[in-house]
């Protein structure tokens, strides 16, 4: 008896089959679009056949030439998969920050995490020139930035949505200033780092994808299994504590995971802003308030969103390419204003 009746009373914390199918379809559709669109046009059917051909026990002739197969598997697909993972991590990190800070404007970009990670990565780049140090330095920079933002935001008085974001702006500006100084000191790496700052999924091979996967999986896994805790936090720190939850520990784990995800993404793809605001908010508007719904769907729709944004970045001024960070900012900045307008004051 409790089953069907229970669902009528508490069903907004479950991801419905409809939403899940929609999300999966969006991911597959965006991935196919990303694989097909480009200077060398590939037929969707051929692309699907070539991918199915990889499955054990399946043998299909895709009709692609060796060059086309090479383009598909060594250029297009690594980029598509990287876009999916970066999009998913940035979206889920944004959702997690929003939950843990109870702040609808929180986003890896606006909290200064991305700039801090960027500074860390630039420092690693400038000092060692070794790309293996990018991810750990980006993580340290990102973590330092989010801690500084949170501490500054709180020191302004009551923790309000805007004071946290203003603190994020200050931390970002500071991190960017130090980063610029480092770049001036290391002019030879300037061009490469500049392209990276604007965000890009170019010059990608499977190696970069492999670099990102372990961090992204760990961070997404932690945020996924702990998503109910974000719902508990939404009724206030004191209430959550009185319900026996260790608020500081939960907040620490969530911030660490979201920062790890952001830093890993930033170290590979540069600064891609606003994904963490656009995706979770759209999900919130359509599918409801619960982080038990927002977190899993952010993974799916974040992946789909960035894959489509990458297609736009590649085609708008083809044959040249726009930095993907420019595309996401173009849609993200107006969206940010929309969220700001609909906020009901400090939360």
């Amino acid at each position: 008896m409790s089953g069907p009746a229970a669902r009528t009373e508490a069903r907004s914390t479950r991801v419905g089959w409809g939403a899940l199918s929609f999300g999966l379809a969006a991911v597959l559709g965006a991935a196919l679009l990303g694989a097909v669109v480009g200077p060398a046009g590939l037929e969707p059917i051929s692309v699907i056949a070539a991918i199915l051909d990889l499955l054990p026990g399946v043998s299909i002739d895709s009709g692609l030439t060796d060059v086309e197969t090479n383009i598909l598997f060594e250029i297009r697909l690594p980029r598509v998969v990287l876009g999916a993972i970066v999009g998913a991590t940035l979206a889920v990190a944004g959702a997690a920050y929003q939950g843990v800070f109870r702040n609808p404007l929180a986003d890896p970009y606006l909290l200064g995490v991305a700039a801090g990670a960027g500074l860390g990565a630039t420092a690693a780049f400038a000092v060692s020139g070794d790309t293996n140090w990018l991810a750990p330095f980006a993580f340290i920079g990102g973590l330092a930035a989010v801690v500084a933002t949170y501490a500054l935001g709180r020191s302004v008085g009551r923790r309000s949505a805007t004071s946290l974001i203003l603190a994020g702006v200050a931390v970002s500006a500071f991190a960017t200033a130090v980063q610029t100084y480092l770049l001036q000191q290391n002019v030879e790496t300037l061009r490469e780092v500049y392209a990276w700052i604007l965000g890009r999924l170019t010059t990608v091979g499977w190696g970069q994808v492999g670099q990102l996967v372990p961090y992204a999986l760990v961070a997404m896994g932690v945020l996924f299994v702990g998503r109910r805790m974000l719902d508990v936090l939404s009724i206030g720190d004191d209430e959550a504590k009185a319900l026996g939850m260790s608020v500081a520990r939960v907040r620490g784990v969530v911030v660490l995971s979201a920062t790890l995800a952001t830093a890993a993404a930033v170290s590979v793809s540069g600064l891609i802003g606003f994904v963490g605001i656009i995706v979770p908010h759209t999900i919130r508007i359509i599918f409801g308030w619960s982080y038990r719904v927002i977190i899993p769907l952010s993974i799916l729709f974040g992946a789909a969103f960035l894959m489509v944004a990458d297609v736009a970045a590649r085609t708008i001024i083809s044959p040249a390419e726009l930095p993907i960070g420019v595309v996401t900012a173009f849609f993200g900045a107006p969206f940010f204003l929309l969220v700001l307008r609909t906020m009901r004051g400090p939360t």
Binding site: S2, G3, A5, A6, T8, E9, A10, S12, T13, V225, G226, R228, M229, D231, V232, S234, I235, G236, D238, E239, A240, K241, A242, L243, G244, M245, V250, G288, W289, S290, R344
Partner: protein, 251 residues
């Protein structure tokens, strides 16, 4: 039995509470009264670990487990506008769940039970932001009830309610206490209502217990004037003392 044993709370080296020793018997309703800043909220918070304190709070002689043993309702609960009543009440099951666990059918059944007891079934899917003050307070009470803790601590549960809704909420609480055998501690500013519903009143002033006993013994003009100021008159009513304010020019 919940007991505060030598509990003391200080903020920035200034003692705001205690040392306080209070014992509340199982099934008893204790009303905490006292002027603003007397330490009522702090006393309740100390029991659920929201403020650091010296001394101990125990339950039947053993260390209390916040969440499982004690449910606490804050003065101004944070109610996310879009969250549904059913989902909100279900969060009360958190103490019974591990960090990574999901609610079982038993948890959902407990939630439904709490909702039914507070007459919220027709509102179960309504977002919290659309509830009236009285309905919202019942939803918070339902969440506390879903915790299935034997002790309920309520910080001014009727502060934002008109007298009709206040009586409605307190009646529900009284009914629940009798049926479920709950121990209830409420902090209140409305002295008449506190006297009507509590078995016993504790008057706190400047962090200390200054009176403790049945409502008729604590709600006297002499005691109240000594701690609230002069403008108070206590009238006798068949159901207990009625505390009324008096304009200083009349007094």
């Amino acid at each position: 039995m919940i007991s505060w044993n030598g509990v003391e709370v200080s903020f920035a080296a200034e003692r705001v509470l205690g040392p306080v020793d209070i014992r509340v018997a199982d099934g008893e309703w204790l009303g905490l009264i006292g002027p603003n800043g007397a330490g009522k909220s702090t006393l309740l918070k100390s029991a659920v670990g929201l403020v650091e304190h010296a001394g101990s709070v125990s339950l039947g002689g053993r260390e209390r487990r916040p969440g499982l043993d004690i449910a606490w309702m804050p003065q101004r609960p944070h109610l996310p506008d879009e969250m549904g009543v059913g989902d909100y009440v279900l969060l009360g099951r958190t103490p019974h769940l591990g960090y990574l666990a999901a609610e079982s059918s038993h948890d959902v059944a407990t939630m439904r039970d709490a909702i039914a007891k507070l007459d919220l079934r027709h509102l179960a899917r309504r977002p919290l932001g659309t509830l009236s003050g009285g309905e919202a307070q019942r939803a918070v009470l339902a969440r506390a009830l879903a915790q299935e803790a034997p002790v309920l601590l309520l910080d001014e549960p009727t502060a934002s309610l008109d007298v009709g809704h206040a009586v409605e909420v307190l009646d529900v609480l009284d009914d629940l206490r009798r049926k479920e055998g709950l121990t209830v501690v409420t902090a209140a500013h409305d002295l008449t209502l506190a006297g009507r519903y509590s078995d016993r009143l504790v008057l706190l002033s400047r962090g200390r217990v200054v009176a403790d006993g049945p409502p008729a013994e604590v709600l006297t003009e002499t005691t109240l004037r000594a701690h609230y100021g002069a403008g108070i008159r206590v009238l006798d009513d068949v159901e207990g003392p009625v505390v009324v304010p008096v304009r200083s020019s009349d007094g």
